[in-house]
């Protein structure tokens, strides 16, 4: 592949993306579900895993396929996704969002037309409604309806959200995995035997898919001009070789990866969000090096690789994460030429997906920071999520991950650390709303938002006692809600286990164990756990501090406070002002920060003590992927002065507007949190004004960024605790974004202006207005000012 025309390939990649953005129907997932309906009855005698594999094969054989004139690789994710993801749906409203709990709601995301008639859609939807999976899942949701109605907690079945390890399949070919299975199957029996048989069939699917694409490439070649003909014949020859056999060149490795990924997503259609690539630079570097490709040549191939992750008009396949750089066990830096080639591809393409993450550590070379400068300081350009690899080693090792596996730690979705190919973390399985629990604790289990009796375990008491004992009562209730949440979350995982995923299992250690990834009785992956996203730590801790002050300074107002909370501070301006003026987390005020640390620590322990379906611990994850808005909408007024339905604090950040001393003070507060307990991850965001970085070149600004933002937070030699390990930034101001919205043709002539929301990045112009406003609000410049 050496010596090809980089400019031509780049031009094609950009055209290919344009073509993709022009697609506004996604019907493939429906065809897959329809195939399931069509073939399931005849296969009903088979065990579920074998049935899944057979249906996958049918779908792969029947899906309409094509290769664009601009493509240099064959493959698409289009058939696995629907136009569903709420936050990039223009009609999304905070008020009406109710989670993704109805697995048949997706049928509302397909617009009927002459081919896909209403009746046809309805028929498949009805079939799905009567599957064991949907019935079982619906029963779980029904059982906790009262507790999830106003989101004291929420649970969901986790699809996607894993990091497959494709390295063996790429290097030795799928045929080699099949022969591994053949040798295992000889001695296997029972469920293992059936799993192996299913895995074998599932792996054959990708060979079938490659064969179909090969045929298309050869057919297209016949009617193409000379240059295109050469490209298509190379593609056809490559498809003949991979993924069935091992790849030798970067071109072959990428092609192999794409088809493996395609089948993996089809197996879970619709909407397996947040499957992630893992340490992409380490996966592909051996092939680039063997091929002796230059950085520029490699980058041009990666541009097509990146386009693959964008699905249709709004890049619907959200939260697929690619991570680069990082260190090995000894602390040696693992940045390589492919790291920089991938960064070049990302920068030049500036696409809404896939998400870019970078692992930094104390020995990260200056060159990498210099190369990152252009991402942070080019307006409208994507910015990577930043991970502290040194800290990840500590956190994951403490959570039970063997040291030798930690170099393969990477990110699934937004910020959840998992071990590539070995870890099923069920990352978004449960969601806990501490704000709601505090509201219910202070109002005897009755919602102050709707007046509904929701629940809790605290006995009634007088106002002053309720306030004096608020911590004890809150934690008692938290225990109750966590217990209920865990039961339901495990129920959702069990429901999902009726849909085995043999193809994915081969990339997750299933060939080793003989078990399916989703099996809830046998552990199919080396590591397993379930996630719990914890919301509102600092609104609760700030509320405790405000209550302490009120109890000590004006105890006579105890009942008044409880009444004011019920009435959303109506007519209680003075009291609310008093509460707002109490110390708040995020300003380096000892009492407020210490309380935030205690709340975070205690709740993390309670979550960690809960067991999932296999008896493994839940993983505390302090991240709130826009759910600080959605869940805040269901939380009444709180003693920190926050009013009813306002947002909760984002991730582990202070509540918007509460930290006003600037970035350094906010960093000091952050450093006090128990990051070692957050093995499920956490979220934190700085919205930083570019004016604080005054170096002349983008490269030097990259170093400034390290010195002013990254080092104090991640690599501060005076910090004796486990350091924070995650951050994302938007280097902009609300004023700049207002201008972009007012005049997109001037500030984003390409129609793409990338911003970050929680762990993912999105085209700011694709977002629903509510989320656009949230982004502008949450930049919260006073909390991230730097002194000049």
């Amino acid at each position: 592949m050496k010596g090809f025309d980089c400019e031509h390939i780049t031009k094609n990649a950009k055209e290919l993306f344009k073509e993709e953005r022009g697609i506004n129907r996604l019907d493939g997932w429906f065809l897959i579900r329809e195939a399931n309906m069509k073939y399931s009855p005849a296969l009903s005698d088979l065990p579920p895993e074998e049935r899944s594999a057979q249906i996958l094969k049918k779908a792969i054989l029947e899906l309409p396929l094509s290769i664009s004139d601009n493509a240099i690789f064959a493959g698409t994710q289009r058939d696995a996704f629907a136009k569903s993801y709420a936050l990039i749906n223009p009609s999304f409203k905070v008020e009406t969002f109710n989670g993704y709990c109805d697995p048949t709601a997706v049928y509302g995301d397909i617009e009927p037309n002459e081919v896909f008639t209403k009746e046809r859609i309805q028929k498949v939807c009805e079939f799905d409604k009567h599957t064991q999976y949907v019935k079982q899942l619906s029963a779980v949701y029904k059982s906790v309806e009262k507790l999830t109605g106003e989101v004291a907690f929420f649970i969901e079945q986790v699809t996607g959200h894993l990091i497959p390890d494709m390295r063996q399949a790429i290097k030795y070919g799928v045929r080699s995995l099949i022969s591994d299975i053949d040798s295992k199957i000889k001695t296997a029996n029972g469920i293992k035997k059936s799993n192996y048989s299913a895995m074998k069939t599932a792996l054959e699917c990708v060979i079938v898919l490659a064969g179909r694409y090969e045929q298309i490439a050869r057919e297209n070649a016949q009617s193409s001009c000379a240059q295109r003909k050469t490209e298509l014949l190379l593609l056809a020859d490559t498809l003949k070789k991979v993924p069935e056999n091992g790849a030798d060149t970067l071109y072959e490795a990428i092609q192999s990866f794409i088809l493996l990924w395609q089948v993996m997503c089809i197996e879970q259609a619709p909407n397996p969000f947040a499957f992630s690539v893992g340490n992409a630079d380490r996966i592909f570097e051996p092939y680039r090096a063997a091929d002796n490709l230059s950085r520029n040549e490699a980058a041009s191939l990666f541009k097509h690789f990146l386009v693959f992750f964008n699905v249709a008009d709004r890049s619907w396949a959200i939260s697929q994460n690619i991570i680069v750089s990082g260190r090995d066990i000894s602390g040696k830096d693992l940045t390589n030429e492919t790291t920089y080639a991938l960064l070049d591809a990302y920068y030049d393409m500036n696409l809404p997906q896939p998400i870019l993450s970078v692992k930094l550590h104390k020995n990260t070379p200056d060159t990498l920071y210099r190369e990152l400068g252009r991402f942070f300081f080019t307006p409208g350009c994507l910015t990577p999520s930043i991970f502290n690899d040194d800290s990840l080693y500590e956190v994951l090792h403490k959570a039970g991950v063997e040291l030798e596996d930690i170099p393969d730690a990477s990110i699934a979705g937004c910020q959840e650390p998992l071990i590539m190919g070995k870890d099923n973390g069920n990352t978004t399985n449960s969601w806990l709303n501490l704000g709601k629990i505090l509201e219910l604790t202070l109002n005897d289990g009755i919602s102050t938002v709707t007046g509904e009796k929701i629940g809790g375990v605290c006995e009634k008491t007088d106002a002053l006692s309720a306030l004096k004992n608020v911590r004890e009562r809150f934690y008692e209730n938290a225990e109750f809600f966590i217990t209920e949440m865990v039961k339901a979350a495990n129920g959702a995982s069990r429901a999902l286990s009726s849909l085995p995923v043999p193809f994915l299992s081969t990339l997750m250690g299933g060939i080793e164990t003989g078990y399916d990834v989703r099996d809830t009785k046998h552990q199919g992956t080396k590591y397993n756990g379930s996630g719990c996203l914890i919301h509102g730590n600092s609104v609760v801790s700030d509320s405790f501090i405000a209550i302490d002050r009120l109890v000590s300074e004006r105890p006579e107002d105890a009942q008044r406070l409880l009444d004011a909370l019920k009435n959303n501070f109506e007519g209680e301006k003075e009291l609310r002002e008093y509460l707002l003026q109490q110390p708040k987390y995020g300003n380096n005020i000892a009492c407020a920060d210490d309380e935030a640390s205690v709340v975070t620590d205690r709740i993390a322990d309670m979550v960690r003590n809960a067991e999932n379906y296999l008896g493994n611990p839940f993983r505390p994850d302090y991240s709130t992927p826009s759910t600080h808005l959605l869940y805040g909408y269901w939380v009444g007024a709180l003693p920190n002065g926050r009013k009813r339905r306002e947002m909760l604090n984002y991730g582990v950040d202070p509540l918007n507007g509460d930290a006003n001393q600037g970035l350094g003070f906010r960093t000091l507060s952050l450093l006090k949190l128990p990051f070692e307990k957050m093995c499920g991850g956490y979220a934190s965001h700085f919205g930083i004004d570019p004016k604080y970085f005054r170096s002349e070149t983008l490269e030097d600004k990259g170093l400034d960024f390290r010195n002013k933002v990254i080092r104090p937070l991640f690599f501060n030699p005076l910090n004796e605790r486990v350091s924070p390990f995650y951050l994302y930034v938007n280097v902009t101001t609300p004023e700049i974004l207002k201008k972009v919205l007012e005049n997109p043709s001037k500030y984003a002539p390409s129609g793409i202006y990338i911003m970050r929301i929680h762990g993912t990045f999105v085209n700011f112009l694709d977002l629903s207005p509510a989320i656009q406003q949230d982004i502008m609000k949450r930049l919260d410049p006073a909390s991230a000012s730097i002194c000049c």
Binding site: N588, G664, L668, R694, N719, C787
Partner: protein, 250 residues
């Protein structure tokens, strides 16, 4: 020794890395200034209203001590302005206490007031402006006398403690050859007084970071074209280099 009730009028604070002293630093901007530089980047700090309640020194000390984990890479606290010498008594108080607590201290000053001398023992790193070598021009444009500035800087060099002399290069004010010769003469004089490893010269290119703030304060921004081109800047650097003066860039 000090008035425990002394207060400092502060109009801004925050952290920065290595731009106003070594390492990661907590910077305080103090209110009030005795000069009127038309290019000032913090015009909001020019006035000091006496009725304002400042921050008590003991509270400030407490805040600074709580920030210790951020003073890495030899960092600490930097006081800048406005002009810190307008609050010399309270400054002496806080600097003394910080020294007692082994917190690294830096001060950025126009060095035009004699009170700087009594603060010097408690300043680990002194950043002093030297805006123009000509008495008349200096008085006319910014309202400062040259003599006390030179005197302060010489005293500092003689003490052997670190001194960074900063020249804000402004087109039409101090970028002509005559001014450059004047700078050279004084820099040589300073260099001959003390050790080279604790004395540095820095040339800062004119910028307009303050323009917006002037407008916000309702004050006219009178500098017309103060920018120094890259070409001229390099010529000036070369001018000093040929005369044996190496300027640094922080």
């Amino acid at each position: 020794m000090f008035n425990k009730k002394s207060h400092l009028l502060i109009f801004g604070k925050g952290f920065n890395y290595s731009e106003d002293g070594p390492g990661n630093r907590l910077i305080y901007h103090l209110k009030g200034c005795n000069l009127h530089c038309p290019w000032c980047s913090n015009p909001d700090g020019l006035k000091s209203e006496e009725y304002e309640k400042g921050t008590p020194v003991d509270e400030l000390l407490k805040e600074i001590l709580s920030c210790k984990p951020m003073f890495f890479d030899g960092g600490g606290v930097t006081f800048t302005g406005g002009e810190i010498l307008c609050q010399a008594d309270a400054m002496e108080n806080i600097l003394f206490q910080l020294t007692e607590n082994k917190i690294h201290t830096a001060v950025e000053t126009n060095a035009s007031l004699p009170s700087l001398k009594r603060l010097m023992p408690y300043i680990d790193y002194l950043i002093a402006d030297f805006k123009h070598p000509n008495e008349k021009k200096l008085m006319q444009v910014v309202g400062a006398s040259l003599l006390p500035i030179k005197d302060n800087l010489k005293t500092r060099v003689l003490s052997g403690k670190p001194l960074l002399v900063r020249v804000p290069l402004i087109h039409g004010f101090n970028d002509n050859d005559e001014a450059l010769e004047g700078f050279t003469e004084f820099f040589r004089e300073l260099s001959e007084l003390g050790a080279k490893d604790s004395l540095w010269f820095e040339l800062l290119k004119y910028h307009e970071y303050g323009r917006e703030k002037w407008e916000k304060e309702g004050l006219p921004y009178t500098v017309k074209n103060g920018f120094i081109s890259d070409k001229r800047y390099n010529e000036i650097m070369e001018f000093f280099r040929l005369r044996g003066i190496a300027a640094i860039n922080t």
